[in-house]
Symmetry: C2
Subunit: 577 residues, 2 copies
């Protein structure tokens, strides 16, 4: 029987309860958002006792469906002030599902400055003092926990940034090698964890079992079809597998949409030096692993290991958005420095997108020169030290812009826009503007259809059809995030109809349901409606669904385009009849 674990940081109690009826049929983002929408007062302080931090594996978690091990983290966001879900790879999702835990809901707030850790196993769930971990980065935290709990567990933790309640603070999840390289990165969820005094979670999956399946045979058959689609589609079987997400650097640069020098150009001269092809090449030279899954059950394997020139491990392969944020966006073309920064971000526990964007804004404010890789490494060190400058940058691009009086601040709902300039990929611009999550590419990845021509072809520079494209993608993404699937399954789903059908069939087979494709669409829509309603109650108005002014007034080279999707198109996106 699936349970919700209620962890009360005020009285340090841990209680399991049956999943209430209203939350049944939900998992992942659907469940975290439902709990936030129902149980969290929208005007509460995001770092106060009345916010709740929720961890939930997806509906397909705990099965052998390919790429189904994502874990969603939800809360009211300290960064945006709205609802937030961020999901991550690593082992935690599968382990929780196998322990029969639908969600961990962390409530209340430690009554003193003491830190605690949560131990979760089949036998026992308890909060334990963890002051010995105070001030530690994620790497040191995990090393310490490994000594205590061994290697057959998964760790969830926050670094210094989470303890300091920074707006860019992440929640870290260990990968298969027990490195804290996987993060629920966006929206400052690590600050919520820190505010509650929860430093780490240890998940011991022993005695856990594969999730029960109502129709085992049907599930097996559908899972096979689903995996086949992933293995057939060129993006999930070749592009991502060989070059990682950084395969996009040259693609997006070619499209004139790679935000360079704090969103003032769409092309970066040094793109090739930091692209996926280079990443693959130097990894091969250094005998690193160029094709690695971030979680058990992944068949895309877009990650890799980044070794330095002496063959020592530096980090996992930095993601495309990480390379962009600290690379082109800061006019830095030094991949070695970017990999070191990636590790530092993972260690301190800050979102690479938000902090890279903040550093570019600070560079525009005169704090460092654009292109100064050593300067960027100094800045990430300042974040880790918690100096005033580090605190500014760790609070994100919005606060950095205010602090240094910078006008070109690329945020929506105070969350930094990622690695696709919305003027040159207008579909994703619509997603940035309208997603209840704030500036976020994953919420409706229109780059696929605008640039990669996956799921059709909507010209990236025209305004027509972008709202419809973003809307459809946002609905589908809400479902994928609810199922606990890696977002990259969307690529085959958009091109191979049976991939979508196979997902529906798996859900039906697991839960003994008979949902249609329309029911699935309604589920995605329901999730988005809960989220937008929360944001409305938190004070968001229509004008919060807009891009910053400079995207509408400053032309982006090389196409010399502005973002000109009309406001009424934007307002149509999350309206459902």
């Amino acid at each position: 029987m699936f349970k919700i674990l209620r962890v009360n940081m005020t009285d340090l109690s841990v209680k399991a309860e049956d999943v209430p009826e209203e939350y049944q049929g939900l998992g992942g983002r659907g469940l975290t958002s439902a709990i936030v929408a129902k149980e969290v007062e929208p005007t509460c302080s995001p770092i106060g006792t009345n916010n709740k931090l929720i961890f939930a594996p997806g509906l397909l978690g705990g099965t052998n469906c390919a790429n189904s091990g994502r874990i969603s983290v939800g809360a009211k966001s300290p960064l945006t002030g709205g609802i937030k879900e961020a999901n991550s790879g690593g082992q935690a999702g599968q382990y929780l599902a196998k322990l029969g835990i639908s969600a961990i809901v962390v409530e209340g707030m430690a009554q003193d400055d003491m830190l605690h850790k949560l131990f979760v196993s089949k036998e026992k769930c308890e909060l334990l003092p963890a002051d010995e971990l105070k001030g530690m980065g994620n790497y040191a935290t995990v090393e310490r926990l490994k000594d205590e709990y061994g290697l057959d567990v998964a760790f969830v933790s926050i670094g210094q940034a989470g303890e300091w309640k920074m707006g860019a603070a992440t929640v870290a999840f260990t990968d298969k090698e027990l490195r804290p390289t996987r993060h629920a990165g966006r929206g400052g969820l690590g600050a919520v964890m820190g505010s509650k005094g929860l430093k780490a979670i240890i998940i011991d999956p022993s005695e856990g079992e594969a999730a029960p399946l109502v129709d085992r045979e049907a599930f097996k058959e559908a899972a096979k079809r689903f995996a086949k689609a992933l293995q057939e589609h060129p993006v999930t079987s070749e592009g991502l597998t060989t070059y990682g997400t950084a395969v996009l650097i040259n693609v997006i640069n070619e499209a004139g949409a790679l935000p360079t020098r704090n969103f003032s150009n769409g092309r970066f001269e040094g793109a090739d030096k930091v692209g996926g092809e280079t990443l693959n090449k130097i990894t091969a030279e250094r005998k690193g692993d160029p094709s690695h899954g971030c979680m058990t059950g992944c068949i895309i394997r877009c990650s890799g290991t980044f070794l330095d020139s002496k063959g020592n491990h530096v980090s996992k392969w930095p993601e495309y958005e990480t390379i962009w944020a600290w690379g082109p966006n800061c006019e830095i073309d030094d991949l070695e420095a970017i990999a070191r920064i990636d590790r530092a971000c993972d260690d301190i526990g800050v979102d690479t997108i938000e902090t890279g964007a903040a550093v570019a804004v600070a560079m525009e404010g005169g704090v460092k020169e654009f292109g100064d890789a050593a300067g960027a490494e100094e800045l990430i060190a300042e974040i880790g030290e918690g100096t005033p400058l580090g605190r500014i940058l760790g609070s994100g691009a919005g606060v950095t812009g205010k602090t240094f009086g910078v006008r070109r601040v690329p945020v929506v709902k105070n969350q930094a826009l990622p690695a696709y300039d919305p003027r040159a990929v207008k579909g994703v611009g619509v997603t940035y503007a309208t997603s209840p999550m704030g500036g976020d590419h994953t919420a409706g990845y229109a780059v696929a259809t605008n640039i990669m021509k996956i799921g059709g072809d909507v010209h990236p520079l025209r305004t027509e059809s972008q709202a419809k494209l973003s809307k459809d993608l946002q609905v589908t993404t809400a479902v994928i995030d609810t199922a606990g699937l890696c977002l990259f399954v969307a690529f085959p789903m958009l091109d191979i109809p049976d991939a979508f059908t196979a997902m529906v069939d798996m859900l039906n087979a697991k839960y003994g349901l008979s949902m249609t494709g329309d029911d699935i669409g309604a589920l995605g829509q329901k999730v988005l409606e809960m989220e937008t309603d929360f944001n409305r109650r938190a004070g968001f108005g229509r004008a919060d669904d807009r891009l910053p002014e400079f995207f509408r007034t400053e032309k982006l080279p090389p196409h010399n385009v502005v973002f000109d999707v009309p406001d009424d198109h934007l307002d149509s996106v999350l309206k459902f009849d």
Copy 2:
């Protein structure tokens, strides 16, 4: 004939135009808000080329009506993101009115980092380079301008904070002694001026004339009645005149509503040491001036000069809210230090309320100890130096709270709440929550009726009638701000019916109108409606009209009360039928 001066910082042109019909009948806040509401795109960057900065004397400016020389400054606020009007004493208001200038509208943005100054006289209005003033505080700026323009002018300027576009940056106005002690303090309007590259305005009133009066005799008679009311009411003829606004320290402390230690207590042990009685006493001992008007035509004279123990001029008398912000709110009871900080704030050009509130939040975040006066002086110095820590504090309490992960952050619409705890003076709490200006006591000063029993008696701790009280005061205040009157005329107006009638009579006599009291109410309502509509278009929702959570959940000693005015009361305040 009255003119609007259009100052274009992009092409450096200055043009006079007739007042368009839609702006006729408006002055002061009514005019600045009308221009912002009509001409500024609500989602524009407040520090970008499309914001406008407007200076406007009130409808009674340029006359010999007592206390009618206030000047309003308006723009989209860099601090709140909403519409903003802040008004100031000093000589500029009367001078502009006497030059026949209804408003100066500063538009565009300098195309480089050059600074300019605007010279305004009957003969000529022009923009001149002012790079020689770069990086100077207001005191040094004014000294330099005095050398060039002499003593028979008024200066308007920004300090370093304005140049750096800080959220707490003010616009400074010189007083009768040509000291930059009068500020349009709230909402970061100095940052708007700085963003446009306008360092100073020099207003030469020579050849200016008293404002024309349609019915001179009727005006004279009404002005006399108005002055009589001011001279009769004990607050405007005794309390403020003798002890300055700091007369309130002991009054509000006694009421248990003096926010202490970052809004965690309503009583401050050291209150008497920093109160108006002490201020008066040491000023007398040091042969300072204890009763001084901040502008010609003032008969209340609530200001004074603060001398140090050797008799050297330090600052004007720090206002009640200044003393509170850096005193009780930081648990500092050192009046000498507070006076030095007051001068430093005037010099750097930062709002004493916003920065004092920010420092208290920083103290809660562990940056300094509460009660550390020397530490507070170090912090104001950091603001003036523009260090990262100084930039944080100069960006206001909201940014400071985010940066240091502090939960108790007393802001509404990101503007710091002033010196009256809303839990113990619930009427002003309603004003804080609902005013389109953000947390602001002057927008509807319910303290008068809650605590001083002026204009009736509404119990400060009860929830009933507070919404109605705040609404009526907000409407009246919008009129007073539109007329260019000092807000303190509200005290006699609330108690002596003829004071209000005299104001209406003066407006009618000056403009040849026949407005009734109801018409005046409609005018105030119209101003508020323009403002709230702008904010709605800028993205504000209902939940933005709420106090921070901790006021609703943490009990304030000594009365142990929370802010419990129901949301529907708050939502009723700015709804007009």
